[in-house]
Every structure is written in structure tokens, then in C-alpha cells.
């Protein structure tokens, strides 16, 4: 589903991604871990099409198409979804209103009919249950005054409504207490499907107890330095990132 080859990217004059190779198949859940500054969020932003990030080398193929050639909105309409680490507050626009507009943009792209307000409310009802949110919260201005947990659940709500093929979760667990984490993880797990893939970016191993990945990759200094299965996460947890840094140093 997603094929990243030799991806290099910089922000301003600083090169952050120094050659990423990654293959994600349909139905798979991949986790990316790594110390701060390793480029985890940069990877998420480059994949979603954020403007300040300049790709200097490499390619990204999504469902056989050139992802880097698509604008952010086209990527979204083609089924790429980014759950933000820091969801943006947009006063004056309710979640419901904005999500309906977004869904209709996606549907239009796929040649489907647009939903009217009634149809949309019916659709969103189930999805709200999934993330344990109520309609009142969804009618409030987007993320305004939401707690950290509410913002992250709102991201998963949007994911549930927009029905993406590739979901990128950027440190979805950051700032969450254990209860919020459980609800978010429950929502994400309910959305796992054989025709959908997920890239879960996290700093801490804890999230991966709840969202169990098929593969784990460790990002360090802009490169994937180690890949493995879920046991790798536990090894990192007990030995820390320093262990990995010395391993990498030893190889070079």
C-alpha cells in the first residue's frame, strides 16, 4: 500500500530525514518509535503534505500513485488521514459542520453523492459512540476548550467518519492519561481492517500495549536503524534509547 524509498527531507536548512525506506502492506499496523528529534513527526508531516517540509530525495508510492505529487487535500481524498499530535483549535466552526464538508469533499472525489445534514447526523451517531463522545461536544467549535483527551478522541472520530485507507497517527498518545489512552486505542483498534493500513508514531512503548503493531521500526537521526516485531518495543522499554544509540554508533 505504501512504499517509501530513500526519502530525504529538510525543514529550512536542516536535513531531518536522511534516507527512509519503508514498506507497508494492506491490513498492517506499523509503529515508528524513536527519541526526540529523530524525525518521527517530520515523517508524518511529509506524508500528509505539510508545506514547510521539502523533500530532497526519494519517492513515496501510495496505492501505486506518486503521493508526493498530490496536494494535501488530494491525499486526504485519496484516503490518507493524519491524526495530529497537536490538533488545531478552530473557533467558529463546529466539528459536525466541518466534518460534513470534509466527508462530502471526499465522497465527491470518489464519485459518491454528497450527504445532507440529516444523513450526516445519522452517520456520525455510531462513530460518536466509538470514541465515547456526545453530540453536544461535536456541536461545539472545533477543539476549542477541549481537553487533551477530547482533542485526541476528536481525531479518531474524524478518522472513523472519513474512512481512510492509510491512517497516520502522530503521537496520538502524547498528553493522555491512562483512561483517555484506553478510549483512543479502543477506537483505533475498532478501525483496523484488512484493506486499511496504519502507521502509529509514538515515543513511548505504552501505547503499543493497547494498539499492538505488526511491525516496529526505530527511527534515529533521520533513518530507520532497527526493525522488528512487538518484542522490539519491550526491549527498547527496558534498555532505553541510549542502548540503541550505542549499537548504531558501534556499527558505524
Amino acid at each position: 500500500m505504501l512504499e517509501i524509498k530513500g526519502l530525504r527531507a529538510k525543514v529550512g536548512n536542516k536535513e531531518i530525514l536522511r534516507g527512509i525506506d519503508l514498506h507497508i502492506g494492506s491490513g498492517e499496523v506499523h509503529a515508528i518509535m524513536g527519541p526526540n528529534g529523530s524525525g518521527k513527526s517530520t515523517l508524518a508531516h511529509v506524508l500528509s503534505g505539510r508545506e514547510n517540509y521539502e523533500v530532497t530525495n526519494g519517492s513515496v508510492t501510495y496505492l501505486g500513485k506518486d503521493l508526493l505529487a498530490m496536494s494535501p487535500e488530494v491525499r486526504a481524498r485519496e484516503g490518507v488521514f493524519l491524526a495530529f499530535q497537536y490538533p488545531v483549535e478552530i473557533p467558529g466552526v463546529s466539528t459536525t459542520y466541518f466534518l460534513k464538508a470534509a466527508l462530502n469533499a471526499v465522497r465527491k472525489h470518489r464519485g459518491l453523492d454528497e450527504l445532507d445534514a440529516m444523513e450526516f447526523l445519522a452517520l456520525i451517531k455510531d462513530k460518536l459512540k466509538l470514541v465515547e463522545m456526545d453530540q453536544v461536544l461535536a456541536n461545539r467549535p472545533l477543539n476549542e476548550g477541549f481537553s487533551g483527551g477530547e482533542k485526541k478522541r476528536n481525531e479518531i472520530l474524524q478518522m472513523a467518519v472519513l474512512d481512510p485507507t492509510l491512517a497516520l497517527l502522530d503521537e496520538t498518545d502524547s498528553g493522555l492519561d491512562i483512561d483517555a489512552l484506553r478510549v483512543v486505542a479502543k477506537g483505533v483498534n475498532a478501525l483496523r481492517r484488512s484493506d486499511r493500513a496504519m502507521l502509529v508514531i509514538t515515543h513511548y512503548q505504552r501505547l503499543l500495549d493497547y494498539i499492538v503493531p505488526d511491525f516496529i521500526h526505530v527511527l534515529y537521526d533521520g533513518r530507520i536503524v532497527k526493525s522488528g516485531t512487538k518484542e522490539l518495543a519491550l526491549e527498547l522499554e527496558s534498555k532505553g534509547y541510549d542502548w540503541l544509540k550505542s549499537e548504531v554508533a558501534a556499527v558505524h
Binding site: A76, V93, L162
Partner: protein, 439 residues
């Protein structure tokens, strides 16, 4: 008397009006008008050297010849103004065409006891002593050139008066239509709003310019708020692309009275709105809620002045502007807190969204605080669309234009959301959707 070329036409027009006066004019009214003219002649039009006008040149107004509308109002159909003025067609209303009271389109229906809605002319005849005591009492012709000019040519207008304890259940609409057809016309609407103790009302002044032609509307509203009255005043201004508009809302609020003044400016070539509120009694309060949109080469200037004279009064001001094209907006927020106005609570915010690189805004908060136990804050921002918000919306599939429209609409919506007349708010929402969706 300083008579310059530009004021000359008004002095001449005044002489002519005086000599051709068909109706018998009471002496006090003559004197009031004379004093207005004398002030105007002495002051002249303001220039950029005048601090309160330093960002707004009135040269286009001064340079233009205007005629007073004659008695024959051009044919205006209900459909020309009812929907566009965003009024409730079933509610009481007085309609003015080019400044002239038009009974044919006005309706008051049955008003509550003690609620009076009538033309200025009729009010002067029926309640002369009150008119004498109120007209010109608060709006100073002495220092304000445009108020002076309006006072000089004072003739048509509206009076809304509520007795003590009276409440008008439905909003009262005052509609001012400028046709902009034929040679450019100047009109001088004059309003008096008199609120008895404990009275309550919602009053909407809706200004509409038809046809895109040039005209000059110079309006003055005096609002006298008795103790504990609750008044919502709405000013909706939709002038034509070549229309000029200068207005003054002057409010004097006694103890415990509460004024919410909404000001929505959607178009016009050159617009200047002055709002002056004097919190003249303990515990009085005002909320000023403003939205201005400008595009093309439009110029919109909102000058507000809130005076805290007595203790424990509160003022809350939020003005927001969205500017595109090469538009120029000005916001002046002056707050004066007198020495005895302890426990004053004054908050002022002005936010501006620039949609184009050529749009300009000057924002100037001015606080003069002479008391020492007060809470006063002010803040103004000028910014472009929030890049993070824009990306967030795009990352969910919204196109750039659609996302920008949504954010513009969202920016305006917290001002519009405070309008307390359901049908007006809904009409404005529709207007905003259409305006931002037009791109």
C-alpha cells in the same frame, strides 16, 4: 466663519432651504439648525491633520456636489428593499427613501402601551417640549463637523420612545434606502431614541444603497437611556459601491442601564461610523459588537469612544474586520475613565483578518484612565489566515478556497453569533456564506 470651497455648497444649500421653507418652522428648530450650520462653517470638513480623522480622508465627500432629494421619492418597490435590508417583514418599521419619510412603505401595526414609533416631523408636532429638550442635547454640533452638518439640515428622521417600564416585544426597524439614481443626493436621517426607566426594546437601523450609484448619507442617532433600561441597538450598513456614509450614534446611559450596540458594515466606498457612549450612572453597561467587511478599494472607519463617568460601570467591546482587495480599514477605540469612576471594568478587543497582501488596517486603542481602582484591558491583532488551521482543514479533504471561506466565515461568526434577533442573524449567516463562497 471659515468658508472654504468645499463647505460653500452646503452654506448655499442652507440659504436656499431657509428661503424656500414651505412649512412653518418653530423658532427653536430654526435656532438649532442655524447653530449647526455655524458650527459646520467654523469647523469645515476634517482633514488628515485632525487626530480623530488621521487615517480617513473625507476629500471624496468634500469634492462632490450633492443635492437634497426633492419631495418626489423615486419609485421604489417593496421587493427592492424588504429582503435585502434583512428586516422582519411583519414587524413595525419606518422607511425612508433618500432620507425622506415614506409612509407608503412604513407600518407600525399595534404597538404596546407607552411605545411610540413615529417620524421626527410628527413627533415634533405632537411632543414639541420633549423634542426641544432632547434634540441636540447629546450629539454635539459644536465639535463634530458631520453632526453639525446633519443638525443644520435636520428635517426627516425617526423617533422611538418608550415610557417607564414599557417593553416593545418585537424589534422595531428603521430602514433607510438610498437609490443612487440620478444626480448624487445627500440625506440627513436624524433619530431620537428615548428610553424611560426600566424600559426594554430592540431597534434596528438598516441602511441600504441600491443600484451602485453615488450618494452621501449623513446620519445621527441620539439614544437616551433612562435608569435600568435594557436596549439592543443594531446598525446594519450596506451601502452601494460608490456610496458615502458618515454616521454618529451618541448614547447617554443613566444608572443601571444596559446598551448592546451591534454594528455590521458590509459595503460602501467611504464609511465612517462614530459611536460615543457615556456611562453616566453607576452600574451602567455597554457591549459594543462590531463586524466590518471591506473589499476592492473600500474604506471603512469605526471610531468608538466610551466614557466611564460614574463608578462600577462596565464596557465590553469586540470589533472584527475581514479585509480583501486593496481595502483600508481603521479602528479607533477610545476609553476614558474619569477620576470618580472606580471599579470600572472595561475590555476592548479588535481583531483583523487580511485576505490579501494589499489590504491595510490601522488599529488604535486609546485608554485614558484617571481612576485608580479599575480593570481595563485592550488588545488588537492583525493577521492573515492561520496556516495551521488551513492545513488542518486541507488535510481532511477541503480544497484551499473552501478552507479559506470556512475560516473567514468562522472569524466573523462570533460577532454574528451575538446578534439577538433570530431572523437577522440567519440572514447575515446566509450573506456571509454567499460572500465568502463567491470566490
Amino acid at each position: 466663519m471659515i468658508a472654504t470651497e468645499s463647505t460653500e455648497q452646503y452654506l448655499a444649500a442652507y440659504k436656499q432651504a431657509r428661503s424656500h421653507a414651505a412649512k412653518r418652522v418653530p423658532a427653536w428648530l430654526s435656532e438649532l439648525r442655524d447653530a449647526g450650520l455655524a458650527s459646520f462653517a467654523a469647523l469645515g470638513f476634517p482633514t488628515l491633520k485632525n487626530e480623530d480623522w488621521k487615517y480617513t480622508s473625507v476629500e471624496p465627500i468634500a469634492a462632490q456636489n450633492f443635492a437634497r432629494a426633492n419631495g418626489e421619492a423615486p419609485r421604489v418597490r417593496a421587493s427592492d428593499f424588504v429582503a435585502p435590508s434583512m428586516i422582519d417583514p411583519a414587524a413595525p418599521r419606518l422607511v425612508f427613501v433618500n432620507g425622506i419619510y415614506t409612509p407608503e412603505w412604513s407600518q407600525t401595526g399595534t404597538l404596546e402601551q407607552g411605545v411610540v414609533v413615529t417620524s421626527l416631523g410628527d413627533f415634533i408636532k405632537a411632543e414639541e417640549p420633549t423634542a426641544v429638550a432632547s434634540l441636540g442635547r447629546y450629539a454635539s454640533a459644536q465639535s463634530q463637523p458631520f453632526v453639525a452638518l446633519n443638525t443644520a439640515f435636520l428635517e426627516d428622521g425617526a423617533v422611538v420612545s418608550l415610557g417607564a417600564g414599557c417593553r416593545a416585544a418585537r424589534p422595531i426597524y428603521l430602514v433607510f434606502v438610498s437609490t443612487g439614481a440620478g444626480p448624487p443626493v445627500v440625506s440627513y436621517p436624524r433619530m431620537l431614541i428615548l428610553l424611560g426607566a426600566g424600559s426594554e426594546a430592540k431597534i434596528v437601523e438598516s441602511y441600504l444603497g441600491l443600484g451602485g450609484g453615488r450618494y452621501f448619507c449623513n446620519a445621527v442617532t441620539e439614544l437616551v437611556g433612562g435608569p435600568d433600561c435594557v436596549i439592543e441597538h443594531y446598525r446594519l450598513q450596506q451601502d452601494s459601491d460608490a456610496g458615502f456614509h458618515v454616521s454618529a450614534l451618541v448614547a447617554n446611559l443613566e444608572r443601571g442601564s444596559q446598551l448592546t450596540a451591534h454594528a455590521v458594515s458590509l459595503s460602501g466606498a467611504l464609511v465612517r461610523n462614530n459611536v460615543r457612549v457615556t456611562l453616566n450612572g453607576e452600574g451602567a453597561g455597554c457591549v459594543l459588537n462590531g463586524l466590518y467587511l471591506a473589499d476592492g478599494n473600500q474604506h471603512i472607519d469605526n471610531f468608538t469612544e466610551i466614557e466611564h463617568v460614574k463608578p462600577r460601570a462596565s464596557s465590553l467591546e469586540l470589533y472584527k474586520g475581514i479585509l480583501g482587495g486593496r481595502a483600508h480599514a481603521v479602528f479607533n477605540g477610545k476609553i476614558v475613565v474619569h477620576k470618580d469612576a472606580q471599579k470600572t471594568n472595561a475590555r476592548q478587543t479588535n481583531k483583523n483578518l487580511l485576505l490579501s497582501a494589499d489590504a491595510v488596517v490601522n488599529t488604535k486603542p486609546q485608554l485614558e484612565i484617571y481612576a485608580d481602582d479599575v480593570k481595563c484591558s485592550h488588545g488588537s491583532t492583525i493577521g492573515q489566515m492561520d496556516g495551521d488551521a488551513l492545513f488542518y482543514l486541507r488535510s481532511r479533504g477541503l480544497g484551499v478556497d473552501e478552507a479559506k471561506n470556512l475560516l473567514s466565515f468562522a472569524f466573523a461568526s462570533d460577532v454574528v453569533g451575538r446578534l439577538n434577533i433570530e431572523c437577522l442573524r440567519a440572514r447575515l449567516d446566509d450573506y456571509l456564506v454567499a460572500r465568502f463562497g463567491r470566490r
